[in-house]
C-alpha cells in the first residue's frame, strides 16, 4: 500500500466516522428534546402527566413514536409535484445535519473546525427555508402555500437580526471560528477575574437576547409559529405530509432547535469549557457540559413556546425590522467602540 493511499484511506475513515457521529447526533438531539420538553416538561406545565406507559415515565415513548411514523402510509396528494414534494424533507434535514458539523464539544471534539464557523452555521441554517417553501408549494394545498410563504417571509426577516447579533460576538472574540470563540470566552476575564472565563452572555447580553428571539423565529416556535399555525393553517406546510417524510420534518424541527441551542451555548455561554479542566479531561467532559447547557437553553425555548400566544404576520415583520434590526446595529456599534477603547 502506498503511503498516499494510506493517508487517503485514513482520511476516508475519519470522514466516515465524523459523518456517522453527526448523523447520530441529529436524532439523539431530537429525541432528547421531544421526550424531555415536548412530552414531559410541557405536560407537567399543563397539569397533566404526559406519556407514562412505555417504560418508566414513558422514556420509550419517543422511539415508539418514531416506529409509528415509519410504518405509516406515505401519502402524496394527487396534484402534488411529486419530486419536489419528496425532496423537500431531505433539504430541511440536510440543513439541520450541516448545522451539527461545526459545533465543538471539546478542545478536539469537533467534526470540522471551520475558520468561518459562525458564517457557515448561519448560511446552512437558511437552507431549510428552501425546503419549507418547496414543501408548501409542492403540496398543492392552499394552507400549505400560505404556510410556506409565511415561513419564507419570516425566516428572511429574522435571518438579519440573528447575523447582526452574532457580529457583536465576532467583533469581541476577534474570530469567526466557533472553537476560537470558546477559547476567547475561556481565557477572558471579568474585571480582571478569570475564575469562570468570560461567557459572552455578560458582555453581549443584548446580542444574546436578540439571537434568542431570532432563533425562536427561525425555528418557527411560538410566538413566531405562523408557518405551522395550527389554529389557522391546519398545519401549514406540513399539512399534506405523513409517515417518514413527516418524521423527517419533525425530527429536523427538534434537531434544529437542539442545534440552535447548542450554538447559543457555544457562542454566549462558554461552550464546552469548564474552569480548571483542560486537555483530554475537557474532551471527555465537554459533551456532557454542552448537553447540559443545550438542555438549559432548550428549556427556555420550549417554556416560551408553550406559554405565549403567537404574533400576527405583519406584527412579526414590524417587530423584526423596526426593533430588532436597529437594536442589533446599535449593539455592533457599541461593541466596536468598546473594543477599540479597551
Amino acid at each position: 500500500m502506498t503511503p498516499a493511499l494510506a493517508v487517503q484511506l485514513a482520511y476516508g475513515w475519519l470522514a466516515a466516522i465524523k459523518v456517522a457521529a453527526v448523523l447520530a447526533v441529529v436524532p439523539v438531539g431530537a429525541l432528547l428534546y421531544v421526550y424531555f420538553y415536548l412530552f414531559k416538561m410541557v405536560s407537567h406545565m399543563q397539569s397533566r402527566l404526559g406519556p407514562m406507559e412505555a417504560g418508566p415515565h414513558g422514556v420509550l415513548q419517543a422511539p415508539v413514536e418514531l416506529l409509528k411514523f415509519l410504518q405509516k402510509e406515505d401519502l402524496v396528494p394527487e396534484r402534488a409535484d411529486r419530486f419536489v414534494f419528496g425532496a423537500a424533507p431531505f433539504v430541511v434535514f440536510l440543513s439541520t445535519f450541516l448545522l451539527f458539523v461545526i459545533i465543538p464539544t471539546g478542545p478536539r471534539l469537533v467534526a470540522e473546525n471551520l475558520d468561518t464557523g459562525v458564517f457557515f452555521a448561519l448560511a446552512v441554517s437558511s437552507i431549510s427555508v428552501i425546503g419549507i417553501l418547496m414543501a408548501g408549494w409542492a403540496s398543492a394545498n392552499k394552507y400549505s402555500v400560505t404556510g410556506g410563504i409565511r415561513a419564507a417571509g419570516q425566516l428572511i426577516a429574522y435571518e438579519l437580526p440573528m447575523v447582526l447579533a452574532i457580529v457583536g460576538v465576532v467583533v469581541q472574540a476577534g474570530t469567526m471560528s466557533l472553537q476560537g470563540i470558546v477559547h476567547a470566552q475561556a481565557t477572558g476575564k471579568i474585571f480582571g477575574w478569570g475564575g469562570i472565563g468570560n461567557p459572552f452572555v455578560f458582555t453581549q447580553l443584548v446580542g444574546f437576547v436578540i439571537f434568542f428571539i431570532a432563533a425562536q423565529a427561525e425555528l418557527t416556535q411560538t410566538p413566531f409559529d405562523m408557518p405551522v399555525a395550527e389554529s389557522e393553517l391546519v398545519a401549514g406546510y406540513l399539512t399534506e405530509y405523513s409517515g417518514v417524510r413527516f418524521l423527517l420534518f419533525f425530527m429536523a424541527e427538534f434537531a434544529s432547535a437542539f442545534a440552535f441551542a447548542a450554538i447559543a451555548s457555544t457562542i454566549f455561554l462558554g461552550g464546552w469549557y469548564i474552569p480548571g479542566v483542560h486537555g483530554t479531561a475537557a474532551d471527555l467532559l465537554g459533551p456532557v457540559v454542552m448537553i447540559a447547557k443545550t438542555m438549559a437553553v432548550g428549556f427556555v425555548i420550549f417554556w416560551i413556546r408553550f406559554t405565549f400566544p403567537r404574533f400576527r404576520e405583519d406584527q412579526l415583520q414590524a417587530f423584526a425590522w423596526k426593533y430588532l434590526i436597529p437594536l442589533s446595529l446599535l449593539n455592533i456599534l457599541v461593541t466596536g467602540i468598546l473594543k477599540v477603547v479597551f
Binding site: S47, E232, F308, F311, E313, D314
Partner: protein, 391 residues
C-alpha cells in the same frame, strides 16, 4: 329604506376597497378562495366559512351553517313535554342545563304552575354553573386560537370540578336532564353546597390565572385590541346578544332587566360592559361574567331556602292551549323558546331562538378586510357552539 350609520360605514368601506382594488389591478394579483371548514381546527365544530383572500387579506367571507342540523324543533313536536328536555340539552352542549330552563319556564307559564322557591334557587345555581362551565372553556380556548396552548388545559382542569358537581346533583356531566315542569328531579346531595363554594373559589382563582396568563399578555393584547370591532348599533341590528353586545357597551342583561321566577333578583351582582367592542373587550367581559357567576352562586347557596323541590303537578302533563315566549340570558346570549300548545301532551310547535346563530351572522360584515389570523381571533372571540347555531 332608511339609511343607518352602518350603511354609511359600509359605503365608506366599499370606497376604500375600490381604491385598493385599483391598486391590485395595476399589480395584477390574483385572489384565492379558501374554505375554512367544515373540517378545520379553528371552527370547533362543523361551521364552514368561505373566504376570498387577496394575499392574507379577506375580501369577503360567507359563513355556511347547517352541517349539524338535527331538527330539534320538529322532533319536539312529536314528543311529550317531559321528554323534550333531553333534546334541548344538546343545543348548547357546554352549558346544557341552561337550555332546559327557558323551555320548562315556558311550559310552566302556560300551565300556570310555579315551582317552589327552593327549586327556583337550585335552578338558578345550576344555570350559573352551566355558565361557568361554558365560559371557562372559552377563556382557555381563546388562547389556543391565538397560539397559546397551555390555557386550555387549565380550563379543562378547573372545568372538571364544575362538571363533577353538576354530575353529583343531576346525574349527568354533559346532559343533566334535571329540570322538570313544576320543579326538579331531585334535591341536592349531602355536602354539595359546601363543595360548590370551595369550587367557586377555585374558579375565581382560575379567572385570576387567565387574567395573568392571557389577558395581561402583550402579544394577546396586540392580537385582540382593535380587532373585530362591533359598534353598538351594528351588533344590535344583527340581533346579537349576550357578552358580545355587552362588550360593545350595550347594558342589557335579561337576568337583571326582566322579571323572572328564577332567583337572580335575590343576589347582589353587577352586569359588566366594555365600551370598545373588540375581541379583547369580549374576552374581558366574559372573564368578568364568570367571576360574577361564581359570586351569584355563592350568594344563592347562602340564602338557599328549605322546602319542597316540586310543585303539585298532574301525573300526565297536558299543557293548556296557548302561546308563550320565555327567554333567558344563557351563557352564549339570549335564548328563547316560543311554545305553542293546543292542549295536548306534546307541544304543537316549538321555535327555538339560539344566540350563536345571530352572533355568527355578523361574520360577513365583520370579516371584510381583516387578515387570516384575525379571522380566527374574531371567530374565537364571538364564541359560538355549532349545536347552538344549527340545533
Amino acid at each position: 329604506m332608511t339609511t343607518t350609520a352602518s350603511d354609511w360605514r359600509q359605503a365608506a368601506y366599499v370606497a376604500s376597497q375600490a381604491a385598493d382594488a385599483r391598486v391590485n389591478v395595476e399589480l395584477e394579483t390574483d385572489g384565492m378562495t379558501l374554505n375554512l371548514g367544515p373540517q378545520h381546527p379553528a371552527t370547533h365544530g362543523t361551521l364552514r366559512i368561505v373566504v376570498r383572500l387577496d394575499g392574507e387579506q379577506v375580501l369577503w367571507a360567507d359563513p355556511a351553517c347547517g352541517y349539524m342540523h338535527r331538527g330539534y324543533e320538529k322532533l319536539a313536536e312529536v314528543r311529550k313535554y317531559p321528554q323534550i328536555t333531553t333534546l334541548v340539552n344538546r343545543i348548547d352542549w357546554l352549558g346544557s342545563f341552561a337550555n332546559e330552563v327557558p323551555f320548562i319556564l315556558a311550559a310552566e307559564k302556560l300551565m300556570d304552575i310555579e315551582a317552589p322557591p327552593r327549586a327556583q334557587y337550585i335552578r338558578t345555581v345550576l344555570f350559573e354553573m352551566a355558565r361557568v362551565a361554558n365560559v371557562t372553556l372559552f377563556l382557555g380556548d381563546m388562547g389556543v386560537q391565538l397560539g397559546a396552548v397551555s390555557p386550555v388545559f387549565y380550563a379543562f382542569r378547573d372545568r372538571e370540578h364544575v362538571l363533577n358537581l353538576i354530575e353529583a346533583a343531576t346525574g349527568g356531566r354533559f346532559h343533566p336532564n334535571y329540570d322538570r315542569i313544576g320543579g326538579l328531579k331531585d334535591d341536592l346531595p349531602k355536602g354539595w353546597v359546601d363543595e360548590t363554594k370551595a369550587v367557586m373559589k377555585k374558579m375565581r382563582a382560575f379567572c385570576d390565572e387567565m387574567e395573568d396568563l392571557l389577558l395581561g399578555n402583550e402579544i394577546f393584547q396586540a392580537r385582540t385590541r382593535g380587532i373585530g370591532v362591533i359598534p353598538k348599533d351594528v351588533g344590535l341590528e344583527y340581533g346579537m346578544s349576550g357578552a358580545n353586545v355587552r362588550a360593545s357597551g350595550v347594558d342589557w342583561d335579561i337576568r337583571r332587566d326582566e322579571d323572572s321566577p328564577l332567583a337572580w333578583k335575590h343576589a347582589d351582582w353587577k352586569v359588566w360592559t366594555h365600551p370598545d367592542g373588540d375581541s379583547f373587550a369580549r374576552y374581558w367581559v366574559r372573564l368578568q361574567e364568570t367571576r360574577e357567576a361564581t359570586v351569584i352562586i355563592d350568594q344563592l347557596l347562602d340564602g338557599l331556602p328549605a322546602g319542597p323541590i316540586m310543585a303539585k303537578v298532574p301525573r300526565i302533563i297536558k299543557v293548556p292551549a296557548g302561546e308563550a315566549f320565555i327567554h333567558t340570558e344563557n351563557p352564549m346570549g339570549e335564548m328563547g323558546y316560543y311554545l305553542v300548545s293546543k292542549g295536548d301532551i306534546g307541544p304543537f310547535r316549538v321555535k327555538i331562538k339560539t344566540p350563536s346563530f345571530n352572533n355568527v351572522s355578523i361574520t360577513p360584515w365583520l370579516l371584510r378586510g381583516v387578515y387570516v389570523p384575525d379571522v380566527i381571533t374574531i371567530l374565537a372571540s364571538l364564541y359560538f357552539i355549532l349545536g347552538d347555531i344549527d340545533r
